[in-house]
């Protein structure tokens, strides 16, 4: 559905996006993760046509994205912004109309989203008089009010209270279930892991890893927790394909490279004394992310 293909953008000496490529299919939730200044916002602005890329292109449904196609996209920018002195409902109706909805449809959709996001009692309030949390909800409604064919949300979870996070998760799942491709960036890797079908990890303007969380895991081996209380420090050092992550309460956490046979590890552990536990764990997205971006996290 959405294909970002070799998108490059340079600001002076900074290469904000360096041949960024990824695909998002119909109904897919795509999580875009990376540190501050990694290039997420720049990529999203290019998808929305707010910025022009220096090279590369964005395609949607097989065709290069033009103005008419962008009109049907929904966008939640990182720097939130609405008309401060406009009333909630008027604002949503206006934005829906700008996106091409006719007046009746715009009113219906605005009312519907106001109700859905729990803003009914604020529908005639000026946006500047709303609490920050409610302003976030209006901003989300603004991204959804025109029934977008693609959703691009930049840090949608930042600044949300836990209840609003649940609402947003529900809305995003619902949109995806309706076939809308959803791209969002987030620092909350546990949320991304829970929510996303696929993930793209970006660092220094480059996509350094991408795929389903399972695929990322397959590429990075597993975490092995060995409970060997009598083992001396450093027992696992030197084993082929093994990195020691840490020792805690007699439990040693090891990162095992993909394709490594775990039996020699068990044998080495048994050689130190009794082994009470020997468990493979899936690395969390946070761990995978650290592997992918290294220590320097830009």
């Amino acid at each position: 559905m959405l294909r970002v293909d070799g998108v490059t953008k340079r600001y002076g000496d900074v290469l904000a996006c360096d041949r960024v490529s990824f695909d998002v299919g119909a109904g897919e939730l795509f999580g875009f993760v990376g540190g501050n200044g990694a290039g997420k916002t720049t990529t999203m602005r290019i998808v929305l046509g707010v910025l022009a890329p220096d090279a590369g292109e964005v395609r949607f449904r097989g065709a290069p994205v033009d103005h008419a196609a962008r009109r049907r996209f929904g966008y939640l920018p990182e720097e939130r912004g609405l008309y401060p002195r406009m009333r909630v409902l008027d604002q949503l109706v206006y934005l829906a109309e700008l996106h091409g909805a006719d007046t009746n449809a715009a009113h219906r959709a605005a009312e519907q989203w106001v109700a859905r996001l729990g803003l009914r009692e604020h529908r005639d309030t000026e946006v500047q008089r709303l609490s920050l949390g409610n302003q976030q909800r209006v901003q989300l409604a603004a991204a959804l009010v025109h029934d977008p064919l693609l959703l691009v949300l930049d840090e949608p979870f930042s600044g949300l209270d836990p209840l609003a996070v649940d609402v947003l998760v529900e809305v995003l799942r619902e949109q995806a279930a309706a076939g809308v491709p959803v791209v969002f960036s987030s620092h909350q890797l546990d949320l991304v892991e829970r929510l996303c079908d696929r993930v793209g990890i970006i660092k220094g303007g480059r996509v350094v890893a991408g795929g389903t969380v399972a695929q990322l895991r397959a590429g990075s081996g597993s975490t092995l927790v060995v409970d060997a209380p009598a083992a001396p420090a450093g027992w696992a050092a030197g084993l082929a394909g093994v990195t020691v992550l840490g020792v805690h309460n007699g439990q040693t956490r090891l990162r095992v490279a993909p394709g490594t046979d775990d039996q020699p590890i068990l044998a080495a552990a048994l050689a130190t004394g009794p082994v009470r536990g020997f468990t493979h764990q899936h690395p969390s997205l946070a761990e995978l992310y650290r592997d992918a971006v290294g220590v320097d996290s830009r």
Binding site: V50, H67, R70, P77, E79, G81, Y94, L98, A143
Partner: protein, 395 residues
């Protein structure tokens, strides 16, 4: 969706927001009140004191000192100069560079004026002539007949010649000219500033990012300019219309036809002037990201408007026929304020109007292109004020 529809949606938002605001109603009411006061006071306001420039030619140069004194005693302020060539003096009068040209001998002064001689100056000159005649009579002391001397002296007055027939409606026309100059100045300043503030508001609130994800920069700019322009046009029409009707029914104006014409020309020049200034205001606004910085970035533009306004008042009341007035009133930055004033005075010629409109439309086209570029480039930039140089650079 067509660009025209998008522009209209943006314009409609501006219209609704502004027309609904209390400030619009209050602004309109205040303008009408000021205008009424202006119209009622017109006769007292424009007769005001001023410097009268008198050129002396030939033997008349001898009265330079006495005239200055006589005038000072009568409370009028004259500046006396010597004119070598009477013909040059007359053309200076026609151009409005001189108010009166005095020739002849001190005992038989001839005065040339454009339309009419200032009454105080007439009395001052008469008194000089009479003193001179009296002196001559007293010189022939042998057969002095007091009655005859008095009669002779009494008959001695300056001979006045006008280059043009005095216009009895001049004061009314001047009042209308100044009213339209003031109205146009206020409207252009107010609505131009509103365009800039609107641009800055969209930038500072960051709403521009979601807007530009669905509308093109030029559509957003055009919609804003059109919407606010229509609000301004509505306000000017209401204020001007009420002014004309009031002046006509209260008999303050004896020439309502001219007043209506002045209003219609004023509305046309409001539109032209607004198109000229609004995009420039918008481009300037797009350079900054915070409301506090708006004033300073607009200063060069508002200064031009203030200059046009000040010149309008000065030139139209003092030098309505000067060639400098004619030239300035045709130039684009000043035409929207000066030319309607001259049209009200009846001193603008048809070809001047044509030249002014052509110049105006040409510069509107050029400025719109330039301002649109600056705006498109600058509107998404946040942070410190964007230098104009950078905004103009090719991307």
């Amino acid at each position: 969706m067509s660009p025209r529809h998008t522009v209209w949606l943006v314009a409609r938002r501006e219209l609704r927001t502004r027309l609904r605001a209390k400030s619009f109603l209050i602004g309109t009411a205040v303008s009408i009140a000021v205008l009424i006061g202006f119209v009622l006071m017109q006769s007292t306001l424009f007769g005001g004191e001023r410097v009268t420039r008198v050129g002396l030619s030939g033997q008349a140069a001898a009265i330079s000192g006495p005239l200055t004194e006589e005038a000072r005693a009568r409370g009028i302020d004259v500046v006396v100069s010597t004119v070598r060539d009477p013909a040059a003096g007359e053309s200076a009068i026609a151009d409005g560079d001189l108010d009166a040209l005095v020739t002849g001998t001190p005992a038989a002064l001839h005065v040339v004026v454009d339309e009419s001689l200032d009454e105080n100056l007439r009395r001052a000159l008469n008194s000089l002539v009479q003193q001179e005649v009296l002196r001559a009579q007293l010189a022939t002391v042998e057969d002095l007949d007091p009655d005859q001397v008095l009669a002779t002296v009494g008959d001695a007055t300056v001979d006045v010649r006008s280059l043009r027939a005095p216009d009895p409606t001049h004061d009314e026309r001047l009042a209308m000219a100044l009213v339209i100059v003031a109205l146009l100045y206020l409207s252009l300043l107010l609505y131009g500033t509103m365009v800039a503030q609107g641009v800055v508001e969209e930038k500072s609130s960051r709403v521009v990012e979601i807007l530009l994800a669905t509308v093109r920069p030029w559509e957003l700019l055009a919609g804003k300019v059109v919407g606010l322009g229509l609000v301004g046009l509505a306000q000017l029409t209401v204020v001007g219309g009420v002014g004309v009707v009031l002046a006509a029914v209260t008999d303050v104006l004896t020439i309502p036809g001219v007043a209506l014409g002045t209003l219609l020309w004023g509305l046309l020049w409001y539109l032209l002037g607004y198109l000229f200034y609004a995009t420039v205001f918008a481009a300037a606004g797009s350079l900054v990201s915070r409301q506090e910085e708006t004033q300073s970035v607009l200063l060069p533009i508002t200064s031009v408007l203030v200059l046009a306004f000040v010149m309008g008042f000065g030139l139209l009341s003092r030098l309505p026929n000067a060639s400098a007035t004619a030239v300035l009133s045709v130039l684009p930055p000043f035409a929207p304020i000066l030319l309607p004033g001259r049209l009200a005075l009846g001193t603008a010629t048809a070809w001047e109007v044509v030249v002014a409109i052509v110049l105006m439309l040409t510069s509107v086209a050029g400025l719109t292109w330039l301002a649109g570029r600056i705006y498109a480039k600058a509107v998404l930039r946040t942070g410190p004020r964007l230098p104009l140089r950078e905004a103009l650079r090719k991307s």
